[in-house]
Amino acid sequence: MPPVLRFLNVTKRYNLGLTRTSLPAIVSQFARQALKRGDESANGKKYHWALNDVSFDLEKGQSLALIGPNGAGKSTILKLLAKITNPTSGQVEVNGQLSALIELGAGFHPDLTGRENIYLNGTILGLTYKDIQKRFDEIVAFSEIEEFIDTPVKRYSSGMTVRLGFAVASCIEPDILLVDEVLAVGDASFRQKCIDRIRALLNNGTSLIFVSHDMGLVRAVCERAIYIEHGRVLHTGTSNNVIELYNQILEQRRKEKMNRSGESAIDGGEAEITRMDVVDSAGNSVTETFGDQSLEVRIHYTAYRDIGKANALVRIYRSDGLSVCIVRTHIDEFSLTLNKGEGAISVRLEPLQFFGGMYYAVAWLMNAEDSDGFASGASEWFEVKNRVAGREAQEAAFEPFRTWSHAPKALQNSTQTENVKLP
């Protein structure tokens, strides 16, 4: 079966503005452009190469993340896929119906009600009235805006708009779904819902192209990823590998900036992190936990030779990329010796004290001097829930153990103290 989607040596070049503004010059330049005649490189025009010889393909039911810094060319790829713009050279093949979730609410009219906008947005995305009618209830239920369905969209909160936009775009059950950095607006529970929805679509054979700076989300929904920078594909692989590479590159840049000598590079070949688990106190794998529970990060490794003294570091990221904590064996004066063979290194965080949100852990095995890493790995995603509902996730990072006290001036002797465990 041919891939649903194929990029073959695609190059996209943008003109950086018209260099001449006199009327005859514009007319002749415009006529050339419109008729695609004449020497394109004339006049010493300036170009921006948004994509340079990019190739990749995507099979049915696969998910691919596009990772890279801003301006790398990710959005250009989406625009080419969505047929919004044409490549300067190369081939873009799309086999199947494509639905794009690029800017939520782009097709919404603020004066129209939610109901009217569902029809409007649905038809823009290529559905017929009948299709939308069939799915209308499902869309409304998913977006959780039942009460406001006949309210003009201009009175919606941004969260409601995002929910409605995602509900319409995903209900199409397209062959290919493009999602560009739009889920960041919703709250944690809606994000989870979107992730579940995307996974269900993937299981039903939809292919996904996903663009996000949220590495947790990328891990959650994508098997594969490509790393793009300056319009070129620098790396292709499983999303965990590409994310690690991306983090390494960011880390390396940071180090270069700080003018440090001594390069950080993975030698490879000495050892490998085969798996990473996040487990609770009973040793069971954890996907959901609470901040007052303990959490253990387990690094399963295989060493291919006797390494001797080594170090490990575990770093936990929140889904928005915040590095929540870093723990290192040498700082904790834990001595680690790795011999040839398999093993597991664990670090227990007790209690976790994280605020509600989605997290994942990455680990590095470092040399004895703790200057170079030789193996790295990442865990699955886990969610920390708040004990008391109603507090928005990611308004804070920590929920520390705490003690409140109150000493009114008049009653200095009777200080009121109460120990409070995490709620």
């Binding site: 919004i84 713009t85 794009a100 800017e103 782009a106 004066d111 129209l112 823009i124």
Partner: protein
């Protein structure tokens, strides 16, 4: 081109939704609502009636001037308002054009359809006027009415698609178009009967497709006669303009998202 026309047929739900959106957006927050659709032509006719009956009387071959001018002002308003709307239709929705793919023709076509709804409303008033003045209208003539409207729509569509596309590249198109429409108004027999134009200029005069279209509306609706040969050049020129406008639109549509 036939294939593309079929594609457009497939997206008729979108055209419809966008037309409704345009109409709702235009009339939702206004107290008079749909009534505004008739205000424009009625006001124009009121002014003309004062000027051309009291100050400079115009020979209308026995037809009351109000009816005479309203019959022409209604189709003229359709042309003028839909062309200005169509020219702006892509530019005003650039956020959408730059983000989502859908057939680009939808936007100008929906702008035209929204104005066609206004045309329908003011046409109802035209029928009422015809009945009030007791003008006899022959059924044969009425058979021509859809044809005349089709010719006019072809003309508007061709010009509208072309100017919508061109406006993406040069915003000068919008003010220029308004100026052209103003001049065009006086070059068409809206205020005056086409018979006022000297015989030797008539051939040249009817190269203006709107001259034939307006004259045909009048012949059919108030003079109880079939349109003359003058309608043929109007039809041919309108079709040619439609082809050229559509060709140009398709030719440059892939550049829209890059320019914006």
């Amino acid at each position: 081109m036939i294939l593309q026309a079929r594609q457009l047929l497939k997206t008729r739900d979108l055209v419809w939704a966008w037309t409704v959106r345009t109409l709702r957006g235009r009339y939702q927050q206004s107290a008079l609502g749909w009534f505004w659709a008739i205000v424009q032509p009625v006001a124009t006719v009121a002014i003309f009636s004062v000027v051309f009956t009291r100050i400079v009387p115009v020979d209308t071959s026995g037809v009351p001037y109000i009816l005479f001018s309203y019959t022409a002002v209604v189709p003229w308003t359709l042309l003028a308002s839909s062309l200005t709307d169509m020219a702006m239709s892509l530019v005003q929705n650039m956020n959408l054009v730059g983000k989502i793919y859908f057939p680009r023709e939808v936007l100008p076509v929906a702008a035209l359809l929204a104005r066609l709804a206004d045309f329908g409303i003011s046409f109802v008033l035209l029928i009422a006027l015809i009945m009030i003045y007791g003008v006899t209208v022959s059924p044969e003539g009425l058979l021509f009415l859809p044809l005349i409207l089709l010719i006019q729509l072809a003309l508007i569509l061709g010009l509208g698609l072309g100017s919508a596309a061109l406006n993406v590249f040069f915003r000068d198109v919008d003010p220029l178009l308004k100026l052209i429409i103003q001049i065009w108004f006086y070059a068409s027999p809206v205020l005056y009967p086409e018979t006022l134009v000297p015989e030797r200029w008539q051939g040249l005069y009817f190269l203006n497709p709107m001259a034939g279209i307006v004259a045909a509306y009048r012949d059919v609706l108030i003079y109880n006669q079939l349109p003359g040969d003058y309608l043929l050049p109007s039809a041919l020129i309108s079709c040619a303009i439609l082809l050229i406008g559509y060709w140009f639109f398709k030719r440059v549509e892939f550049q829209f998202a890059d320019i914006i």
